[in-house]
C-alpha cells in the first residue's frame, strides 16, 4: 500500500512535467522555438496561483483564498501574457535571440521570486497552498491516487486539445513555418504572428503546469525553479520525441524515472557527506544523454508523425 501511494505520488510529479513538456512541444516541437526559460514560466504560474489561492497571510501581500481552479486559470493567463511579451520582443529576429532572452527571463524571475519578500515570501517561499482533495490528507493512498487522477485528467484534456489543434489548419501552418518560412509566407501565412501565438500558448501551458505542481505539493520556493528544471524538461522532450505529444508525455515519465532512480542509487552507494557531490553526476548523465540523442537519434523515441490534411489522405485512398 505504501509503495502504491509512492508510485502514485511519483507518477503525479512526472505528469506535471508531462504538462510542461506538452507546452514545450507546442513551442519547439511544432514551431521550432527554443525556450531556455522554461523554469521561469513554470515558476510564474506557481507563484501567481499560490498568491491567489493561499489564505490571507500577515507577512505578505496576496492570499485571496480563491478556489484552485481560478488559480490555475490565472496562471495560464500570466504565462501566456509573459510569453506574448517575449515573443513580440524577439520573434522578429534570429532564432537564438529568443533563446538568450528567455534565459534572461528565467534569471530575472528567479530574482523576483527571491527578492520581493512582500509578494513571494522570498527565499522561504510560500506555504499553505491549498491542495486538491486536502480533506483526505490523512489517508496518503486515497489522497495520492485522487491527485494522480486529477493530474492525469489535465494531461489527457491537454493532449486531446493539442492533438486536435495541431491537426487543424493552424497546426499545419505552424509546421509549414518551421519547415520553410519563405514558402509559408508565399502561401499567405504570417510567420511572426503564428510564432507568437504558438509561443504564448506554450507559455500558458507551462505556467498551468507550475500551478498544478504547486497545488499538489502545497509549498513553493525559488529553489524549485532553477535552470536545472529547464534542462530536465528539454531532456524529456528530446528523449521522448519532439513534435510528438505522446513522445512528450513518455519522455517526461521516462526521464523523471531515470532521475529518481539514479538519485536513489546515489543515496545508496555514496556516503552521506559525498552525496551532494555525487548528485552532480546525475546532471552530467542527463547532459550527456541529451547531447548523444541530438547526435544519434534527433527524432527521439517516438518520432514526429507526419500529419497532413484529412481530406488529402482520403483523396490518396481513392486513387
Amino acid at each position: 500500500m505504501e509503495i502504491l501511494a509512492y508510485a502514485a505520488f511519483f507518477l503525479t510529479i512526472a505528469l506535471t512535467y508531462a504538462i510542461i513538456c506538452l507546452g514545450l512541444n507546442v513551442q519547439w516541437g511544432q514551431t521550432g522555438l527554443f525556450n531556455v526559460g522554461i523554469a521561469g514560466f513554470v515558476g510564474l504560474g506557481a507563484y501567481v496561483s499560490a498568491a491567489l489561492t493561499t489564505p490571507d497571510a500577515v507577512e505578505r501581500i496576496g492570499g485571496f483564498d480563491l478556489p484552485i481552479v481560478l488559480g490555475w486559470l490565472a496562471a495560464m493567463v500570466a504565462g501566456g501574457v509573459l510569453a506574448l511579451a517575449v515573443g513580440l520582443l524577439t520573434l522578429r529576429m534570429r532564432s537564438d535571440y529568443l533563446a538568450i532572452t528567455t534565459f534572461g527571463i528565467a534569471v530575472a524571475l528567479q530574482l523576483v521570486f527571491q527578492n520581493t519578500e512582500s509578494l513571494t515570501g522570498g527565499a522561504f517561499g510560500m506555504a499553505f497552498i491549498p491542495r486538491p482533495f486536502s480533506g483526505l490528507q490523512s489517508e496518503p493512498f486515497a489522497f495520492n491516487v485522487l491527485n494522480l487522477a486529477l493530474t492525469a485528467l489535465v494531461v489527457l484534456v491537454l493532449y486531446f486539445l493539442l492533438e486536435h489543434l495541431l491537426r487543424s489548419p493552424w497546426g499545419r501552418a505552424l509546421r509549414a513555418v518551421r519547415e520553410d518560412e519563405v514558402a509559408a509566407q508565399a502561401l499567405g501565412k504570417n510567420p511572426i504572428l503564428l510564432r507568437i501565438q504558438a509561443f504564448a500558448l506554450g507559455g500558458a501551458i507551462m505556467a498551468l503546469a507550475g500551478a498544478v505542481q504547486a497545488h499538489f505539493i502545497g509549498f513553493i520556493a525559488p529553489g524549485n525553479y532553477l535552470p536545472m528544471m529547464t534542462f530536465q524538461v528539454w531532456a524529456m522532450l528530446i528523449v521522448g520525441g519532439s513534435g510528438n505529444n505522446r513522445g512528450a508525455i513518455l519522455g517526461a515519465v521516462l526521464v523523471w524515472a531515470i532521475w529518481a532512480l539514479s538519485g536513489a542509487l546515489i543515496s545508496e552507494i555514496f556516503p552521506a557527506d559525498q552525496q551532494a557531490r555525487a548528485a552532480s553526476l546525475q546532471i552530467v548523465i542527463i547532459g550527456v544523454m541529451l547531447c548523444a540523442i541530438l547526435l544519434w537519434r534527433p527524432q527521439g523515441i517516438l518520432p514526429e508523425v507526419r500529419s497532413v490534411s484529412r481530406h488529402l489522405g482520403l483523396r490518396n485512398k481513392d486513387n
Binding site: 534565459f103 535552470p227 552530467v284 547531447c291
Partner: protein, 304 residues
C-alpha cells in the same frame, strides 16, 4: 554616489568583456549562441588552478608573491598551461559535438541546444571533481591603494584592467590586419563562398575556438584571482556575456569589450543605487533595451 563604483565596474567589465569576445566570435563565425561559453571561463580557472598546483609541487619558489601583486610567477605560467588545456577542451568538444552537428547540416538552434546540454554536463562535472566549495588562487591579502578622487584599487585589479586593454588591442589588430583575421571575417560573412575562394574554413573554425577559449580562460583566471573560483562562476556570467556581445554588436571585438564595460559599470552603479540583490537583473534589462531600440548592437550591421 560613490566613485568607487567606477573602479568596481571597470574590473567586472574587464572579465565580462574578455568572455564576451569569445562568445561574439563563435556567434558570428560558427553561427550559434554558445551556452557552453560561460563554463569555459570556469574550466579555465580550475584548469589553471590545477596546473598551478602541479607547478607549485615542482618548484616551491613559484608560489611566493612578487611585489606588489598577491601571486608569484607560478600563476602566469600556470595560466599559459590553463589556456592550452582550455583550448584543447573546446577543440575536443567541437570535434565530438558541435563539429559533428555542423557536418550533418543541423539547424543552428539544434547546436544551441547541444551547447545547453554540454554546459550543464561540464558544469556539473566541475562540481563533481572539485566540489561546490569556493577555492582561491592565493590566500595573500592586498591593501587597496588610493588612486585619487575617492577611488581605490589593489595592484592586482590594476593589472587585470591593463592586461585586458592590451589583449583587446592585440586581438583587434590581429582580426583587422592579418590574413587570418580577413579569413575570419570572410567566413562570418558567408562560409560557403569563403570556402569557394580557397579559404581554409576548418582552420578558421580552429582559430575561433583558440581565441575564444584563450580569452575565456584568462577571464576566468582574472575572476578567480579577484573574487573566487566556483563551478557556477561561468554560468552566472553567461547572461552578462550574452548581453555584452549583443550590446556591442555580434562579431565585433571592440563592441564586445565596450559592451562588457558598460554592463560592468551599470552593475556596479545598480548595486549602489538599487541594492546588490538585483545585480543579476541588470544585464537582462540592458539586453531588453538593446533588443527594443537597436537590435544590431552598437557596432553591428543591420541584418540584410
Amino acid at each position: 554616489m560613490n566613485p568607487q563604483a567606477i573602479i568596481d565596474g571597470l574590473i567586472a567589465g574587464s572579465t565580462i568583456g574578455l568572455g564576451a569576445i569569445g562568445l561574439t566570435l563563435t556567434y558570428s563565425i560558427l553561427r550559434f549562441a554558445n551556452f557552453t561559453h560561460g563554463d569555459f571561463l570556469a574550466w579555465g580557472a580550475y584548469l589553471t588552478l590545477t596546473v598551478a598546483g602541479v607547478l607549485g609541487g615542482l618548484a616551491a619558489g613559484l608560489g611566493a608573491p612578487v611585489y606588489p601583486f598577491s601571486f608569484g610567477w607560478g600563476l602566469p605560467l600556470a595560466m599559459l598551461g590553463g589556456v592550452a588545456l582550455t583550448v584543447a577542451l573546446t577543440l575536443g568538444l567541437d570535434r565530438v559535438l558541435f563539429g559533428k552537428l555542423r557536418a550533418r547540416g543541423a539547424d543552428a538552434i539544434i547546436i544551441v541546444m547541444a551547447s545547453f546540454g554540454a554546459s550543464m554536463a561540464l558544469r556539473s562535472l566541475l562540481e563533481f571533481i572539485f566540489t561546490a566549495k569556493p577555492v582561491y588562487f592565493t590566500k595573500a591579502l592586498q591593501i587597496a591603494k588610493p588612486l585619487g578622487l575617492g577611488m581605490r584599487a589593489t595592484p592586482d585589479q590594476l593589472l587585470v584592467i591593463g592586461l585586458t586593454a592590451l589583449l583587446v588591442l592585440a586581438l583587434h589588430l590581429l582580426v583587422t590586419y592579418s590574413a587570418t583575421g580577413r579569413a575570419m571575417r570572410a567566413v562570418s560573412e558567408d562560409p560557403g563562398l569563403a570556402g569557394v575562394y580557397g579559404i581554409d574554413v576548418a582552420k578558421v573554425v580552429r582559430v575561433t575556438w583558440i581565441i575564444g577559449a584563450g580569452m575565456a580562460c584568462i577571464a576566468g583566471v582574472m575572476a578567480g584571482l579577484l573574487v573566487q573560483i566556483r563551478p557556477y562562476m561561468g554560468f552566472d556570467l553567461l547572461l552578462p556575456l550574452f548581453s555584452a556581445a549583443i550590446l556591442g554588436g555580434i562579431g565585433s571585438i571592440p563592441g564586445a569589450m565596450l559592451g562588457g564595460l558598460i554592463i560592468g559599470l551599470s552593475e556596479a552603479f545598480a548595486v549602489q543605487i538599487i541594492g546588490a540583490e538585483w545585480r543579476a537583473a541588470i544585464s537582462f534589462v540592458i539586453l531588453v533595451i538593446v533588443l527594443m531600440l537597436r537590435p544590431q548592437g552598437l557596432f553591428g550591421q543591420k541584418e540584410a
